[in-house]
Chain length 312, copies 4
């Protein structure tokens, strides 16, 4: 948790081109747990080990991408203070009433310098992970259904104004910088093209890449419990002929093990595990642009073209 009370990536609303096809995909292939549908036709999912009612919300739309990203905060006091801090930083906010999202309280929304709608909220109903609160088993059937990630882990967003975004997250919202990629030929400490930001001890709860067009989604990431389960995910993607972008491989950046693939609408998702413990007193790690290939795909050492060019 950040000192500001920001807890975790809580929800992300994803635009999909065919809601029924996507619903089957996220339920049966990714293995998320479907928890509801609202009056607008949005479909709600959670990863099996999350306790909150929802984390991934699908909305049918004409183009793919992300509508907004929301982080859960500790309580209403933290929510009020964060709203005030954002406003004092010169960014206007709006309140979205409780109930707009199923089982979710009031949200404070504002636009990031990168052009992404971003939210904080203090309430979402706990429905549990299915194992109960008394003498629980370590896992159940949901842990083997589809790819079965444990959590919505983070997202990587593309947009302009990377420096302003970093400043907002690190100086106002309480995140800390964990890793950075320098622009080509920049000296250490120079201009970044990518940043990884944490509000926990994960290597990132959110990440950004400098990009001309605002509000773009590079990928939504799901946490896996082990490298063996990353390979199992790769197998399931192959069985279902899901288009895979990269992996399985290790990222040099964050050390995580990864697969990137695309959902039926062309939204990239990741299955992820194995990053290190990050702390706010740690100096950020720097990657030079010429080594970004190793940062992305540590064994191939290859800057896959799609990494910089394909997003939604």
């Amino acid at each position: 948790m950040a000192m500001t009370g920001v807890l975790r990536p809580g929800h992300l609303q994803l635009r999909v081109l065919d809601i029924e096809k996507s619903r089957k995909f996220y339920r049966d292939i990714i293995g998320l747990v479907e928890t509801g549908m609202d009056a607008q036709g949005r479909v709600y999912f959670k990863a099996w080990d999350e306790r909150d009612h929802n984390s991934i919300i699908l909305r049918q739309a004409d183009r793919a991408g992300v509508d907004f990203i929301g982080f859960r905060v500790l309580n209403k006091l933290a929510l009020d203070r964060l709203e005030q801090a954002v406003q004092e930083h010169g960014i206007s906010t709006e309140r979205i009433p409780a109930g707009d999202l199923l089982e979710t309280g009031e949200r404070v929304r504002f636009e990031l310098p990168s052009g992404h709608p971003f939210e904080f909220y203090a309430e979402k109903t706990h429905i549990g992970n299915g194992l109960g609160m008394l003498n629980p088993r370590p896992w159940g059937a949901a842990a083997d259904y589809g790819i079965a990630p444990t959590h919505f882990d983070h997202c990587l967003l593309y947009g302009p104004n990377l420096d302003a975004t970093r400043k907002l997250f690190t100086e106002v919202l309480g995140f800390f910088l964990v890793e950075r990629v320098l622009a080509p030929n920049e000296p250490i400490g120079g201009k970044d093209v990518a940043i990884w930001l944490s509000c926990s001890i994960k290597t990132h709860d959110i990440a950004f890449v400098e990009h001309a067009e605002p509000g773009k989604l590079h990928h939504v990431s799901f946490r896996m419990p082990s490298g063996e389960r990353i390979q199992r995910a790769a197998d399931i993607l192959g069985m279902n002929k899901v288009p895979v972008d990269i992996g399985p491989t290790r990222h040099g950046i964050t050390r995580g093990q990864t697969i990137y693939a695309w959902d039926p609408s062309g939204n990239r998702f990741e299955t992820f595990t194995g990053d290190y413990e990050a702390y706010p007193d740690y100096e950020p790690i720097t990657w030079t642009f010429d080594e970004l290939g190793y940062g992305l795909d540590y064994s191939l050492g290859k800057l896959h073209e799609t990494f910089l060019t394909v997003m939604t």
Copy 2:
């Protein structure tokens, strides 16, 4: 990090009966990195992926056990505020000057209701994990030397006044309760015999068991990167005929994979991995005493007698 600025378990001073024998044990079998020896003859170690100068400190003594446990806090302001809060809670504190421990700043020390000397500090020199801060490799030779845990993860302490300890950690220091074991025949919400407390998203940064004698150590725990590395640790213990208490197995409590074994002085240590993500808004999980065997050793379902009777 807790809202109070408590970051992580930072150091633990362990009493050992033969400093040279223990030094070899922690260096060559556990695979910690030796970082120094002070004028008193204390030997300093860090786990390979820690960036701070030291985490485990060995002191030769007539009896085994723990001298004190220290948590790193965000900065001096957090240190001052924590000191004040502890004092306002009615516990007296003392300041131990910078430099008493190698490469470590001023410490605020007080005694826990469980009888353990406990400390906060805001400064310990970062010496890094050996991989550098620029385009780092994911791991190096230290990751394969001995058992090679990545971090000092937590400790489990035995002592009296469990309720007062929980109150101090959760109401004053900013920790949250993750799991608890009820006393025999207690109803849910009743008196606990054991508690797991977190200041991060780990299932525990410290844990306590109710016990008549104050200030006792049950085990020091080291974080491992995977279940396969737990088995590798088990192999190394066997190769060196280190006395093993329990495991490898899974704890029902925290879901972690574990081995318990004893160092040459009889101090129990653990190698640990695979627990879940905990958050302060999550309701704590409760174990009934009759299921504690599964909480301890999920496959055997056995309350090993040593768990409750052997400590230092």
Copy 3:
């Protein structure tokens, strides 16, 4: 395959005390695939990655244990030659007609010096592993149902006349000795109390321990695909409160990773993985009796009492 044409452990008929309870156990907890029931009421199972119609056959009886063990041989010529060789070795054989076991051809049966009925057969219907023979997926739903071993791997039998048994297997049947345990205080090359025999490149396809009472079963072993799946098996045993004898741990003998547990009738079974490649030109490895604890449980180094005293 042995030069004699002995291919693999093919079937084992197990006596169980309650056929319905055992059927559920082997189907839903072990995760074997039920393939039939015969007129006698025997229930047939295969492990998911086996292609033959059956491998484990349950028969209701008043006492637990093993009725017989059968190995598949290459063809009828190999069957005839093995029969002749066994007879020439002075052991009488009988032919059991095709169809006595479902989907299984004629069997040549004889009694081992250890008192166990033992069989060879050349025909059992291939029903496949469910993945098809054309562009197969690497695994399917059966690989995640219950513990889901891939194969019946071997069994360990207790009985008298260990030397005669070794001689039969190595000099007549074409097996080779992989590991041995010496009797207490025996010099190397002296009298064995346990032997591991292979007809493949596995460390054992069958194993024996010297024991006064003939025809006893120590355990039936199931092959797992990884150490992580051994831990998953341990979890499933815990979830179902199946009594576990030992493990998860590593055997020093064969290097395999293991769990021993008991079925509802008290028959011990094992989940097993990770042994090394054995070849007939390799000199056998020898264990001294005083190190048998490490041979059995490499991390604890403990000769669990049940290993020598509990069998069916």
Copy 4:
């Protein structure tokens, strides 16, 4: 072992462009154990868990590739019989005297229809795996040095006359066909472009692809103990900027987990684990050419161009 007494892939002599550079590569990055150098300057290696004196032999030459492949057979009788059978099949053989290769007995050499020199031999000195034959540890320091494969596992060879090669291996040498890839648009049972052949219970001890130019090497494969160690190998390749061709990924064909990469001379090697158990009575699995992408790289489903075009 085949009924003919063929035991295992025993040695492979590899042509390298710079013997010193290659020596360092195979010793320090692959992690083979260097066991000798002969008067011709050839350098001998074994994988750590092999017991024979050597398996990979490097010879400095002007072009990369394979000089010959040798399989160990059970004994001199098997050697004589195999020689006779090869001659009766219409292929001339020659005897290479004992001692031509260090610690290796007389070899029977002949040319495969694919144009590769191929050998059988019955003697190579056992030097052991460093763990001893009495109460051995499960592994030692060599298991963590470099990539540290346990064995030279198989090779994949490119050359003409695939049908004749299959006939030789399955009808004369005692191997069995495990998997096959059909030529484009061929019906099942039609002409193959690739075959996987076993003389053990591995999915392949040798494999071939139809190719116009004779005697070509696609890759030398090394056995790894787990998928986690495949990822570790990938990390080591990245750390050393070794050019990686494909992976880590799963092969659909054989189900093995793999990385393909190139040595300093451009010879491709593989790290491999996780294939299934194959038996001579099993019907071969067939892949259609249009699914070869999944056969090669099960998650990407991509027929990497290099697979068919780059060899030595």
